[in-house]
């Protein structure tokens, strides 16, 4: 279905949970809501589902106004962050329950339940109670119940967050295929930029109840409209340093000067802010093009097979990514290397001025 939100806002008491925002979700599209905790993802989802009514604005389903309509009469299905199943019913009955409410006949229910359960690989457990399943299986059961309903709008509120790392990876890879039926409009909320990138589709970035940007996931990632958006859609958060822009160079406050690549030329001179993602700030000098930046080590954070080195550089903290597990002594002066072709230039007010040409970059990486 086409879901249209027109200036919807949510206020609870004196707290503005969601500023007015407008959004249109196309039929069959996959939409990611990205934002940190308290960004308003769940609030927005509840408005989309009709569990809460917006304080102002309208919600339209295929052009029909459904603002304030009871969730019972809406064409939605939802999966919660917590594993929500009916504990007193077997897995089979759990999955069958939306179909039973729709008044489908027995044979059809049975066929659909078994097909969906097989798709989510919980078919051996149909006669068990949800409490007798592992966390991942419980969530699969909840997802199966949402899928089997065949609703036009499927909402997933951080469905993988309570699962362990391995299961999350596994289920995420499967979800993408499961949702690819092209009929259902899927909305998927997550706090992790990684997850948004893996899932693809469209992304809507939320921060503290405001919509920062919306668009195709790749485009938003490679050209975040503002520093706030870049901070949310970057893990670890994008490094930001104050700088002065001159004709074809950008000078950091400590005097380090980076040449501007073609895409950043012809920008108005003056103070600006420069953003560099951690993976474009490396400890190894991979190429002569890279510009050294000095910093004092504050922390070496090991994440999987990578190390994130936190550096103090003037007033700001820089985070550089390093392949492999390394440890730099606290307080030691080291140099990290920034790729001038990969820097973002923001105005002092935080609006994007120039972004690296990511299509060209992608091609070069392949070569």
């Amino acid at each position: 279905m086409t879901l249209t939100l027109e200036n919807v806002a949510k206020r609870v008491g004196a707290d503005q949970h969601l500023d007015p925002l407008s959004l249109e979700l196309q039929p069959g599209s996959f939409n990611v809501l990205l934002g940190r905790t308290l960004a308003g993802k769940t609030t927005l989802m509840r408005l989309m589902a009709g569990l809460d009514a917006p304080t102002s604005g309208r919600v339209l389903e295929n052009g029909k106004d459904v603002t304030g309509a009871s969730v019972r009469h809406r064409d939605v299905a939802m999966v919660y962050q917590q594993f929500i199943n009916y504990p007193a019913m077997t897995v089979y009955e759990n999955i069958a329950s939306p179909l039973r409410r729709q008044g489908k006949d027995k044979a059809e229910i049975d066929a659909k339940v078994r097909r969906t359960a097989a798709m989510l690989r919980i078919d051996p457990f149909l006669q068990r109670l949800p409490a007798e399943l592992s966390g991942g299986q419980q969530q699969r059961c909840a997802i199966a119940r949402a899928l089997v309903k065949g609703a036009g709008l499927l909402l997933l509120d951080e469905p993988l967050v309570n699962l362990d790392y391995k299961l999350r990876e596994e289920l995420r890879a499967e979800l993408r295929d499961i949702f690819a039926d092209g009929k259902t409009t899927v909305v998927y909320a997550t706090t992790e930029p990684q997850e948004a990138l893996i899932l693809g589709g469209n992304v809507t970035v939320l921060h503290e109840g405001r919509m920062l940007q919306t668009g195709p996931t790749g485009a938003v990632f490679h050209a975040p409209a503002s520093l706030e958006c870049a901070a949310v859609f970057s893990d670890p958060p994008m490094n930001v340093v104050d700088a002065i822009l001159t004709n074809d160079r950008v000078a950091l406050t400590d005097g380090t000067s980076l040449p501007l690549s073609a895409h950043d030329r012809n920008l108005p001179a003056g103070p600006c802010r420069v953003g560099i993602r951690a993976n474009n700030l490396t400890v190894l000098r991979r190429s002569e093009r890279l510009v050294p930046i000095k910093g004092r080590v504050e922390l070496s954070e090991i994440s999987g097979s990578e190390t994130f080195v936190h550096l103090r550089h003037g007033d700001s903290t820089l985070i550089a990514r390093e392949e492999g597990v390394h440890s730099h002594p606290f307080g030691s002066e080291i140099q990290v290397y920034a790729d001038p072709d990969r820097i973002f230039v923001f105005s002092t007010a935080g609006q994007l001025v120039a972004a690296p040409n990511w299509r060209r970059g992608a091609l070069r990486n392949i070569a």
């Binding site: 589902a49 569990l51 009871s70 969730v71 019972r72 809406r74 939605v76 299905a77 939802m78 919660y80 917590q82 929500i84 009916y86 504990p87 007193a88 019913m89 329950s97 939306p98 409410r101 729709q102 119940r145 309903k149």
Partner: protein
């Protein structure tokens, strides 16, 4: 010290698995110390009950002639009288009738009320919820006169429903508190999930929600049953003949020939039985019930 630590670690790792002889000896001596104290305590608790059961199988002559630890001339006379004399067994029927009635009314009223307190915010909800319990803060005698007068006026005096309704004064608030505790343990998302799935509220409540809190409903029913079953003052005052409860019958056993001790003891045994039976069914949830469902 280190040995004890190793032993307890071994226990923790594999309860019931192989243990060294030293462990077995020490733990068995510790258990026997505990056992003595526990047995002493249980004897202390069970003695009055045993004595009543003991008396119920004795003749009045044996009871009055001296101390005997068990019936020397066991007799079922006392039980036979209770099960054959209508003035006795009707007391049980009356009690069971109004207690059941009360339990049903209390649960029917308390289930929706507890759901509202657990799920919705409304003006004064916290205050109303707290002041529900005021009825339990006063002794039942306080309500004796108003109830008596009221029921006389509306013609409810000496009916089962009168006692059942009077007991609701204590049981409904208690039931609301216990059920609210159990209901608040159910995530709100389950309610929402059910509405998304297309359940109507009544259907959701009866087919999804109530099965989830069935332990709470059982415990609540047990508490209502118990309070109503043992309550004597209101039950006796609001009835005379037609709905006279067993407890009231028992207080009126003094006849011209003196007190019938054996009969009284048999009646006492039969009064304990239903409670013991109900406790058996909810034994696993009673502690949670006493904590009003908030454990």
């Amino acid at each position: 010290m280190s040995k004890a630590a190793t032993a307890s670690a071994a226990h923790a790792l594999a309860p019931g698995a192989l243990a060294s002889p030293a462990n077995i000896r020490r733990s068995s001596s510790r258990v026997s110390g505990k056992t003595v104290i526990l047995i002493g305590y249980i004897v202390f608790l069970m003695l009055p009950i045993y004595w009543m059961v003991n008396m119920s199988f004795k003749t009045n002559e044996e009871i009055l002639s001296g101390l005997t630890l068990y019936p020397h001339a066991p007799t079922l006379r006392n039980y036979v009288i209770i099960f054959t004399d209508p003035s006795w067994y009707s007391g049980y029927i009356n009690s069971i009738y109004y207690v059941t009635l009360n339990t049903i009314i209390s649960l029917t009223a308390a289930l929706p009320a507890a759901y509202a307190f657990s799920r919705y915010r409304f003006i004064g909800d916290k205050h109303v919820f707290f002041w529900l319990l005021t009825n339990k803060m006063a002794p039942p005698a306080v309500f004796l006169l108003p109830f008596f007068q009221l029921y006389q006026t509306v013609g409810l005096f000496d009916t089962h429903i009168a006692v059942a309704l009077a007991h609701c004064l204590f049981n409904v608030p208690l039931a609301v508190w216990i059920l609210e505790g159990f209901m608040s343990g159910v995530p709100r998302e389950i309610d929402e999930m059910a509405y998304i799935d297309g359940y109507s509220f009544p259907r959701f409540f009866t087919t999804v929600f109530m099965p989830m809190i069935r332990a709470g409903i059982g415990v609540t029913a047990f508490f209502c049953f118990m309070f109503s079953w043992v309550e004597l003052l209101l039950a006796r005052t609001l009835t005379s003949v037609d709905a006279k409860p067993i407890a009231a019958t028992m207080t009126r056993t003094v006849s011209a020939s003196g007190m019938d001790w054996g009969l009284l003891a048999a009646a006492g045994v039969l009064t304990i039985l239903p409670g013991a039976l109900v406790i058996w069914f909810v034994r696993n949830y009673i502690a949670k019930g006493f904590a009003l469902g908030r454990v």
